[in-house]
């Protein structure tokens, strides 16, 4: 099969998966009963309740309700968020930029640290740095994010007082305009060093915390793929022609080892997406994840539905991109289909 066909086929399946997901999400929220509760008040009588049900089509059969809901979503109507006391679509952008800033910072931490650690360990196979990296990587997969976050807070916030919680210092926040909603970018646009330092200072702990799991995965992949590359003939050839070990690593082995690692980097995205819920709660980061957690605890169905749909679509698109990149890098995947 040609790569173009493969990509086309995946693109055609994507909307079907999104529809499937939306059906699951919709049925889920209806398991918990009718959402009429949020519109009710004590003074209403049975007739008024019935009128309300009719108005919101809640007296129709479920498939019909689904169609109403889905057309609403397509028109950009995601319902009323009880937690935020505003329409979901109105609150969403601000929460999204907060989450995006944290996710991007965590991804930078994870990629830089993961690649460096993986290379360092892979080049020193079965020696002490390799063993330490291995322990670090295995711990990463077992680390409860909520616990790691609290440990970081106990040490760096309570004991040492090095880092703050929250997203910004109030005084500094009001000293510059916020056109993008990402405080680091806003500070750069305003060319305000104090604001930038403050934004980064608030960002550091949550980004390290959220990035840890992904760092571990990337480091592990980079290490094992580098170890494999270092056993290839071309590496021996490079050494035989007298190239220093440092250059063998940098110019040859590491470049090839990056191919499988790049796809893993894409897949760790799901890690960041899920961890964000916990990290945002603990570090009091006002993003989508914390909004979702509040919604979950207070049964805010519109927010839950919007959040699950959003993350699923994002997850699907990222996975698609990763698979396509991987197919380009390694033709066997497509031919094997």
């Amino acid at each position: 099969m040609q790569i173009r066909d493969y990509v086309l086929r995946r693109l055609l399946v994507l909307p079907l998966l999104v529809v499937g997901t939306s059906i699951i999400v919709f049925s889920l929220t209806r398991i918990g009963g009718s959402p009429i509760g949020i519109y009710l008040s004590h003074e209403m009588d049975a007739q008024e309740v019935a009128q309300l049900e009719e108005r919101f089509h809640l007296d129709d059969p479920l498939p019909v309700q689904y169609v109403y809901w889905a057309t609403g979503v397509l028109r950009g109507d995601l319902g009323w968020s009880g937690v935020a006391a505003a329409p979901v679509t109105e609150v969403f952008p601000a929460k999204l930029t907060a989450s995006m800033e944290l996710a991007i910072a965590s991804a930078i931490v994870a990629v830089v640290l993961g690649l460096a650690l993986g290379t360092y360990a892979g080049a020193r196979r079965n020696r002490l740095p390799d063993h330490i990296t291995r322990i670090f990587a295995i711990s990463g997969a077992s680390m409860p994010l909520f616990w790691f976050a609290i440990l970081l807070l106990i040490v760096f916030w309570v004991r040492l007082g090095w880092f703050p919680v929250g997203r910004s210092n109030a005084e500094i926040f009001f000293s510059i305009p916020h056109p993008t909603g990402m405080y680091t970018v806003d500070a750069l646009l305003a060319t305000d060093a104090t604001a930038l330092r403050d934004a980064l200072w608030h960002l550091a702990l949550p980004a390290i915390c959220l990035g840890y799991g992904a760092t571990a995965i990337i480091a592990r992949m980079m290490r094992s793929s580098l170890v494999e590359e270092l056993q290839e003939d071309y590496v021996d050839a490079a050494r035989a022609k007298g190239l220093p070990e440092r250059l063998v690593l940098k110019r040859h082995a590491r470049r090839n080892a990056l191919i499988p690692t790049v796809t893993v980097i894409g897949l760790t995205f799901g890690f960041l997406l899920q961890g964000a819920v916990v990290a945002e709660i603990i570090f009091q980061w006002p993003g989508l994840g914390r909004w979702m957690a509040d919604a979950v605890l207070r049964g805010d169905q519109a927010t839950i539905m919007a959040y699950v749909m959003f993350t699923s679509v994002l997850f699907l698109v990222v996975n698609l991109v990763v698979d396509v990149v991987y197919a380009y890098l390694d033709r066997r995947v497509v031919l094997g289909e």
């Binding site: 889920l28 398991i31 077992s142 409860p144 616990w147 609290i150 979950v296 605890l297 699923s312």
Partner: protein, 309 residues
């Protein structure tokens, strides 16, 4: 057509039944696993924590009427570790942290056993059906699996548990709904691969029923990746379950590690580090132990990944 006798006595020069060959192979694998120190560390951790879970009523005086509820000592709030009677300190509601850790091990064992057995049974059944039936049945089942896999697992479980209402039982249900798909996928791939083998054709030729071929030839030969995944999931499920209860989806006062971490979180700014630190450490060790063993099993079963270690 001539009558083909069932169960032709195929030459068995070594005199070994298939089951005995398998048993020998398992012994060899176990030996190989035990030669890896990290696997042994994992096994020791698992045995230790299982012992804590099993002997919880011996190690502590069980709270009445429900031992899974934290006992409250209202005369000892926020006591630091080392307080007489409260070796690891107490929470801000007078819960003994040590009690929570010990009974939390039992809670975690219950959670992971129930979820893993439910998901393995459902996943293996669905995966086998898809792999064996092929055609339209396979297509439909796998598209359902695809949809389930397109929602990130923690967020999916979070949404289900939220809709069902906050309780530990609903956390178990939510995790079961989310985790069976992995097994279905693994099992289907295995079945498709295994049923191409000559011995399956041979069994078909001698007239074995489909069910018999499945039970004696296909299932035992395709189950190992499921076992690896189940081992990893024993740890992973406790990790996700504790995350859900940390967020607040379990009953308050439950002797469960995630609940305890969440209860202790309020006190950390006042310097009370113990109520969160110890239960969180248990979640970490639990997940770590099963990850180490799961990795060990995988290394032994798949020599290709071992070479890269």
């Amino acid at each position: 057509m001539a009558d083909i006798p069932r169960r032709v006595p195929v030459a068995a020069p070594l005199g070994e039944s298939a089951w005995r060959v398998r048993a020998r192979r398992w012994r060899e694998l176990l030996g190989a696993m035990l030669s890896n120190p990290t696997t042994v560390i994992g096994l020791v951790l698992i045995v230790g924590m299982l012992a804590v879970a099993l002997f919880a009523p011996v190690l502590t005086e069980a709270n009445t009427p429900d031992p899974y509820q934290m006992p409250r000592d209202w005369g000892a709030l926020n006591e630091p570790p080392g307080t007489p009677g409260h070796a690891l300190g107490t929470t801000n509601t007078g819960g003994d942290v040590l009690y929570g850790i010990i009974w939390g091990a039992r809670t975690s064992l219950r959670l992971s056993l129930i979820v893993v057995s439910l998901t393995v049974v459902v996943g293996v059944a669905v995966g086998s059906l898809a792999g064996f039936a092929g055609g339209r049945v396979d297509e439909i089942l796998m598209r359902i699996v695809d949809v389930f896999l397109s929602i990130p697992e923690l967020i999916f479980a979070l949404a289900i548990a939220a809709v069902l209402g906050p309780s530990f039982r609903n956390i178990i249900l939510a995790l079961a709904v989310v985790f069976w798909v992995k097994y279905a996928r693994i099992m289907r791939a295995q079945i498709i691969h295994i049923k191409e083998n000559d011995y399956v054709d041979a069994a078909r030729v001698i007239g074995d029923s489909a069910w018999r071929i499945y039970a004696t030839d296909v299932l035992p030969n395709s189950i190992t990746p499921v076992i690896v995944q189940a081992t990893l999931d024993m740890g992973h499920i406790v990790l996700v379950g504790a995350t859900l209860s940390f967020i607040g989806l379990a009953e308050a006062g439950l002797a469960e590690w995630g609940v305890l971490v969440s209860e202790g979180q309020a006190g950390i700014s006042a310097g009370r580090w113990w109520a969160s630190t110890f239960p969180g450490l248990m979640v970490f060790l639990w997940a770590l132990a099963f990850n180490l063993v799961g990795d060990g099993v995988r290394d032994v079963l798949d020599p290709r990944t071992e070479s890269a270690r």
